[in-house]
Subunit: 399 residues, 2 copies
């Protein structure tokens, strides 16, 4: 069938074992996993189907398409799915009656959930998404390796920026050139997001007032975008000297996403914006020290808010005014919007092995966005950077 690298079988086995402990803890008979990314995480294959994970014993991947490809890729047993009615019978004859069943309530569409749940007439659905996402937040050595390769690719892009960026080019042209280089490195161009209606293309490559345009995207920088039908990120606006050029880009390697932001400027940056940029670097350093196992996620956000308030920049932090995003960072991995979320509502503690993109940014309407972002690994000694491009402003001669 094919010779593509596979997720190691031991990796899949460890993931299933850990997930089954959660199922036991929640006193579930099993979980019906339906989302492509969760299925990939728990089987090693992203073929189309559903995965039944019993509280103990071997899971089974019921595949619609392609069965033959799933057989090659998955490290769990594969069977043709058939119709939903038949599937219910297959599952219960193999695994017994299912009374309490985990489903992914944050992603599984309502209509499909009703149909799947009809397979278990006495089954009570329980939302299993948060615990599964919490498990996925802690990365294995295999996963870290994939992220480190992705980080080296975005570093290469930053090194090339001085020769790519030219006054008078459009944001879209700059974004296209960056994406082209990432594609040649094997970036598939799909940046998976779990959040309903959230989507991302490359990231936010934008400058000046266009970068400061607010938008629907739940992040600290929006961007004007190309059209009202794609209202975020790069636009057709021209990049001019003296304005901050936001290069917030992602690279995907073997499914794993890293996220990194750097700022470039043609000529000189306005002193106020440069000071704000320096403050984002300080916020990042503070987070690096604070980010140890056991520290609640919300503490890093709270500390950043303190530093921003001291500087009198609260209205500009993570967007402007009403359009501010209310977080400092987000987990990355197979999805762009993973746990942890560094935000007020989250009391959960950081754990060794979690991977977080931390992205303090300031928006100045009409002038631009400045900020920085690294993807980090949580270790006993604090946050260890996975992305490693130079954090200095990238200065491009005006002439």
């Amino acid at each position: 069938m094919h010779q593509l690298p596979k997720v190691p079988a031991t990796e899949v086995e460890n993931r299933i074992n850990k997930f089954q402990k959660t199922l036991q803890q929640f006193e579930l008979d099993g979980a019906l996993i339906t989302q492509n990314v969760d299925i990939y995480y728990l089987t090693g294959s992203m073929q189309n189907g559903v995965l039944f994970v019993p509280a103990s014993g071997q899971p089974r991947f019921y595949v619609k398409k392609s069965v033959s490809r799933a057989e090659v890729e998955a490290s769990v047993p594969v069977e043709a799915m058939g119709r939903i009615k038949e599937l219910g019978k297959k599952i219960q004859s193999r695994f017994g009656q299912v009374k309490k069943i985990g489903i992914e309530m944050d992603v599984l569409p309502y209509g499909l959930a009703i149909r799947y749940l009809s397979m278990f007439p006495d089954g009570e659905p329980v939302d299993i998404s948060f615990p599964l996402r919490l498990q996925r937040a802690v990365k294995s050595d295999y996963e870290l390796e994939q992220l480190r390769v992705a980080a080296s690719r975005v570093n290469e892009i930053v090194a090339l920026l001085p020769e790519i960026i030219r006054p008078g080019m459009s944001e879209a042209e700059l974004a296209a050139k960056i994406e082209y280089k990432l594609h040649l490195h094997g970036n598939p161009g799909i940046y998976r997001m779990r959040g309903y209606n959230q989507e991302l293309s490359l990231g936010v490559v934008a400058s000046g007032s266009a970068a400061a345009t607010p938008t629907y995207f739940d992040g600290p920088a929006g961007g004007l975008g190309l059209t009202t039908a794609s209202p975020q990120g790069a636009s057709h606006e021209t990049i001019a000297a003296g304005e901050p050029i936001l290069v917030d880009i992602s690279m995907v390697n073997e499914g794993y996403i890293v996220d990194q932001t750097r700022i470039a400027v043609i000529g000189e940056l306005d002193q106020e914006l440069e000071s704000a940029y320096e403050l984002t670097r300080k916020i990042l350093k503070e987070a690096e020290t604070m980010g140890k196992p056991g520290v609640p996620w919300k503490f890093l956000y709270a500390r950043a808010l303190e530093m921003v308030e001291e500087a009198g920049l609260t209205e500009h932090f993570m967007g402007y005014g009403q359009d501010r995003a209310k977080f400092l960072g987000h987990g990355v991995g197979l999805e762009f919007d993973e746990l942890p979320v560094l935000a007020t509502a989250f009391d959960q503690p950081l754990e060794t092995g979690m991977v977080i993109a931390i992205e303090p940014k300031f928006t100045f309407p009409g002038r631009g966005v400045v900020g920085i972002e690294n993807t980090y690994l949580v270790t006993e000694n604090g946050l260890e950077p996975i992305t490693f491009a130079s954090e200095e402003l990238i200065r491009i001669p005006a002439g």
Copy 2:
């Protein structure tokens, strides 16, 4: 805020009026529209929020982010959304008690649906997706104009293929070069799909045996892909002389997607594959004549199956063996997987103004995929092509 082109206000008004007729026909008090594409279609804005459309009277767009941007883009009244509890009160104090409510059951996640429905304690949910998608299937002059611009961009790519394709380049490199050119034309790189777990990056640019690798994607050609985490489309395999190079690409303009497939070959194509390609052209011509208002969608697929069976190629049609897709074409518009679907289960009639991508293809395992695809408009005289690149095999000298 910004000067981007807007969806004309009369366009939005017509769409709302038509949708309200459906709500009345279904005896609904209103519909709560939550999906970004449906919201864009019915308001002109893709900002994050929910749209309440009463059975009659003015709809209201409750926006989370960005309210200020939605006010500029939307042609319906905008209000800050607030928390879900407050939203329920706001809606019922403005629109009265809601007893029967339309929701998009095919896309709205289960957990979110439960929360939204809790706003209407006596409300009975009804799936409004299919009728809304049916309405969206029929395009206005404004929408056709956007599609025609997109078609001219994919035509330009086909014209460039003889100078882009070189023996020994990888599929990924070819895909990257094509995508780069489309990006410069304003392609945002997001190809929206409505189907759960379905996703697309550019299309399928693949050759030889890699193109014939089956995958999860619900289409006639899969492709090996770059990794098991992105198992479709272009791979790192090398393009060799004598094998069919499938260039199945999409371009998005103002949110509207066209889909087109052409085949290139370096040197000479195997006679059996070339004959199969000629048969796909004949199937397309037959569909062009048959595709008139009133004809059931399934008839076009049934006729194609007949022609394929006469040629003894049934096992190869729209994928191979167990991995065949069971349709001939699909609607395109703001989403890649719109109505109509030309498949056995669909008795619905074609209507003037529907736009369909028709894509007969044959898969030969180990050898490649051949086929053709145009995006068409349904007219009284049959299907009128919107994509218009030459349908001849693109022959590239081997030396």
